[in-house]
């Protein structure tokens, strides 16, 4: 069968061009990957650096450094993309690359250039065109696609991955940073708070914070008399915390901080906490509480027999002492200065927060440790004193607001007798930290603010303390709170 002239050349040309197109696609794919990885690496590095800047420098310096940083990254990316465009391979460039790689001495490049110029379709070919096509067809086996452009991942992937890892590591810094922890008590994470609350209450237990056993309490070196009581900073417990267990001291401080936050929450959040802990509406829970009296009494008995109660009460008192001390210091500063009322007001607020802490913080946690239901009830009550059972004084409690819980500071039976307790003097004053207080100077030369008004007998808080037999462990705290003038 006769073949029209030039048919063989055109058939061969189609075959060569098809392979050349495959190579061109591979070259361009590789170029695109290579440049994209490089651009990605630059962007990831930019993100990492900007993140580091955001954490390490002030907002002013961050904004001052971020724009140049983004500018440099943008310029680099632009240049990389421009290089990608310049490296983009057309058919002629692909042919030249094959020529160089295989050593075809520009046979393929010449063929591609002639084809691009329209030979043999729109322009007459020279006498040697057929020889060129034939020559290239003979060497077709020398430039297999897999041989010339094997499928491979650009090495620029490695710096890209490294940059991504670096950026991820830098970006995870906020997750690891304590500053980024969510607000422990909020409506958004109330579920987590309620679930963790008993566990957090368990962290409160520090064996070293337990009071000495009754048989050893008598041999305690701690003096009973108020005047002989060492200052709080020299208390054996503080000494142990400060020197022998700094980590646990830190834990206690952290817990105390959280508890203060809990106590300072808005009323709606506290209410939500109570409801979440209770799991029932307040009215229903109150009715359920009535039905649960026998069990609760048993819990009370267990609690009363436990040293935990004394421990927690002691912690409450310590918190109170700490807050009140800070409040007093604030009041003193206010009196010593120009008499700024706001400082004295601050002192009053500190005292109130101490009461709130006692009423809504540690005391609730003590209940929460026993059972979530008890804790919920305690949170709902918002009263540091235990409610009476059916409106009458029970075996271990008083009527509401009418007396002092005899187990306010733990089981008295565990204190080793009443000879180790002390009582406040009747003329002891309670700091009010309000404007118009009389400012007197103590013997040590310090200026204190002391209220001259008599305490109201209906003040349940004071009444409870004054009528209680206070164990010596709380001597320094009570002394600190109620006898400012005698503070050593």
């Amino acid at each position: 069968m006769a073949v029209p002239p030039g048919t063989e050349e055109r058939t061969a040309l189609v075959e060569i061009e098809a392979r050349l197109h495959k190579l061109q696609t591979r070259f361009n794919l590789y170029t695109a990957q290579h440049q994209l990885y490089r651009v990605g690496a630059v962007l990831a590095l930019g993100v990492a650096v900007s993140t580091v800047l955001a954490f390490s420098v002030s907002s002013f310096w961050f904004s001052a450094a971020a724009w140049p940083l983004f500018g440099v990254a943008g310029v680099i990316c632009f240049r990389l993309l421009r290089q990608a465009v310049s490296d983009w391979t057309d058919l002629n460039s692909a042919a030249r690359r094959v020529d160089v790689q295989v050593g075809l001495k520009q046979r393929l490049a010449t063929l591609a250039a002639q084809t691009a110029a329209g030979v043999p379709y729109t322009r007459p070919a020279t006498r040697l065109w057929a020889h060129l096509v034939h020559d290239n067809l003979r060497r077709l086996s020398q430039w297999e696609v897999k041989r010339v452009a094997p499928s491979r991942i650009p090495l620029s992937l490695l710096p890209f991955l490294a940059a991504i890892l670096l950026a991820c590591a830098v970006a995870s810094i906020p997750l690891l940073s304590p500053a980024s922890e969510p607000v422990p008590f909020s409506l958004t994470n109330i579920g987590r708070v309620t679930s963790e609350l008993p566990e957090r209450a368990g962290q409160l237990v520090d064996e070293r914070l337990f009071p000495d056993p009754p048989n050893e309490r008598g041999r305690s070196d701690q003096p009973v008399a108020l005047t002989d009581t060492p200052p709080l900073s020299q208390h054996p417990l503080r000494h142990v915390d400060d020197h022998n267990a700094p980590d646990q001291s830190e834990a206690s401080k952290s817990l105390g901080r959280e508890l203060r936050e809990l106590a300072s929450l808005p009323a709606d959040i506290q209410q939500a906490l109570r409801e979440a802990l209770q799991g029932l509406p307040e009215s229903q829970d109150a009715q359920a509480e009535e039905n649960m009296v026998p069990d609760e009494q048993a819990d009370e008995a267990n609690l009363a027999s436990s040293d935990d109660l004394g421990l927690e009460n002691r912690l409450v008192s310590q918190e109170l002492a700490g807050e009140a001390g800070r409040a007093r210091q604030a009041g003193e500063n206010g009196a010593e200065g120009d008499g700024d009322a706001s400082l004295q007001g601050n002192a009053g607020r500190f005292q109130k927060s101490a009461q709130a802490l006692r009423g809504s913080g540690l005391h609730r946690l003590r209940q929460a440790r026993l059972a979530p239901r008890d804790a919920a009830r305690a949170l709902r009550s918002g009263n540091p004193q235990r409610a009476s059972r059916a409106g009458s004084a029970g075996t271990g409690g008083m009527g509401a607001g009418t007396g002092t819980d005899p187990q306010l500071y733990g089981n008295p039976a565990k204190f080793g007798g009443n000879d180790q307790t002390f009582s406040l003097s009747l003329d002891a004053s309670f700091e009010k930290s309000r404007t118009g207080n009389e400012v007197v100077k103590d013997e040590g030369g310090g200026v204190i603010s002391k209220s001259t008004s008599q305490l109201n007998e209906t003040q349940a808080f004071d009444d409870a303390i004054r009528n209680a037999q206070i164990p010596p462990e709380y001597e320094d705290i009570i002394k600190h709170l109620f006898s400012r003038g005698e503070t050593p």
Binding site: E8, K105, Q106, T110, R127, L128, W129, H131
Partner: protein, 349 residues
């Protein structure tokens, strides 16, 4: 795919050149590369200037080439008293049969296919210029009448670099008309041994022509067209242009300083220091045509960078006009061209 006619032509060219080389090898010992360059220039339609010491076979080479190609051959021994008419021919008063006298143009030795201009630098520039028109335009003008030379016309001139006294160095314009300038180096020890053993016996070397007398001219012209048919990419043309521009010194006159060349070679220190003027565009033509001839000798229908590099030295070394500093420092054009060739490899695409 079967062999195409084009392939057959290329194969025939290769075969012809091989046969010529083998025939020349019977009388010329060694110098294979030089012979190949001469053949490239011949089939590219150029003229060759051979520089070599006396007694190295220059005249023998040209004479043997003419015999192998079965073309007409002439030889002019250039001397100081040689006149242009001795080269081109002259009008002479001749007696006709009817007793009258008439001016008849007597053709000079220039009217041949292969011309050996032996020791061309010994003649005066006026006589050298007589050859100029013939070499460039393939014609000779005598007494106002222009006479066309029969193609193919191939001038092979020789230069004696030793005896420079009483010589007239070729002007740049005339040098530029030579396609190649090749140096015939002194033969090696073994080659000398073969030369003296083969030329001192009664046995004459039998050099056979590769063409018949009838087909010789047509074959040579066909091969010359074939050389011009060799394909070249724009990138190689760009490369050649860059090489030609690289031979120009920075302060060369008549050069456009704001030339927006896309491909440019870095400036060479030796070029700026020693070159008075670089290659002309004719050098670029020579470079490409020579590269095409080299490609065809290699059996290819396309020019490669290797072909350009291969012919760069013979094509350009006589086109660089060096200054006195180069002569004083002993720097020749081949040294500069080798440096340019090395740096030119960086722009090969």
């Amino acid at each position: 795919m079967s062999e195409t006619p084009a392939t057959d032509v290329v194969l025939e060219f290769q075969d012809t050149v091989e046969r010529i080389q083998s025939e020349l090898a019977k009388v010329i010992v060694g110098h294979e590369e030089l012979i190949q360059n001469i053949l490239i220039a011949f089939f590219a339609g150029g003229h060759v200037l051979i520089e070599g010491v006396p007694g190295t076979g220059k005249t023998l080479l040209v004479r043997s080439l003419a015999r192998v190609l079965n073309l007409s051959f002439s030889r002019i021994q250039f001397t100081v008293d040689l006149m242009p008419a001795d080269v081109t021919g002259t009008r002479m008063v001749m007696d006709r049969d009817d007793g009258q006298r008439d001016f008849v143009f007597v053709r000079g030795p220039i009217f041949s296919h292969v011309l050996l201009a032996d020791e061309i630098n010994r003649s005066t520039p006026k006589t050298q210029a007589a050859l100029l028109e013939a070499m460039a335009e393939l014609q000779a003008t005598v007494a106002g009448t222009t006479y066309q030379l029969a193609p193919p016309f191939f001038v092979l001139a020789t230069l004696n670099p030793i005896e420079m006294e009483g010589t007239y160095p070729l002007p740049e314009a005339q040098l530029d008309r030579f396609f190649f300038k090749v140096r015939l180096t002194y033969p090696t020890h073994q080659e000398v041994q073969r030369i003296i053993s083969s030329t001192t016996t009664t046995e004459e070397p039998d050099v056979r022509p590769v063409f018949t007398e009838a087909e010789a001219v047509e074959k040579v012209l066909s091969f010359r067209r074939l050389v011009r048919d060799v394909l070249v990419t724009p990138q190689i043309e760009e490369y050649i242009a860059a090489v030609i521009h690289a031979t120009l010194p920075a302060d060369a006159p008549y050069v456009n300083a704001t030339d927006p060349a896309r491909v440019r070679l870095p400036r060479d220190e030796l070029v700026d220091r020693y070159v008075h003027f670089g290659s002309s565009p004719r050098g670029g033509q020579t470079l490409l045509l020579g590269a095409k001839g080299a490609a065809l000798l290699d059996g290819r229908a396309n020019v490669s960078y290797e072909d350009v590099t291969r012919v760069m030295l013979p094509a350009l070394n006589h086109r660089l006009v060096l200054n006195f500093a180069a002569e004083a420092d002993g720097v020749d054009s081949s040294t500069i061209l080798e440096r340019i060739g090395r740096s030119a490899t960086k722009i090969q695409r």
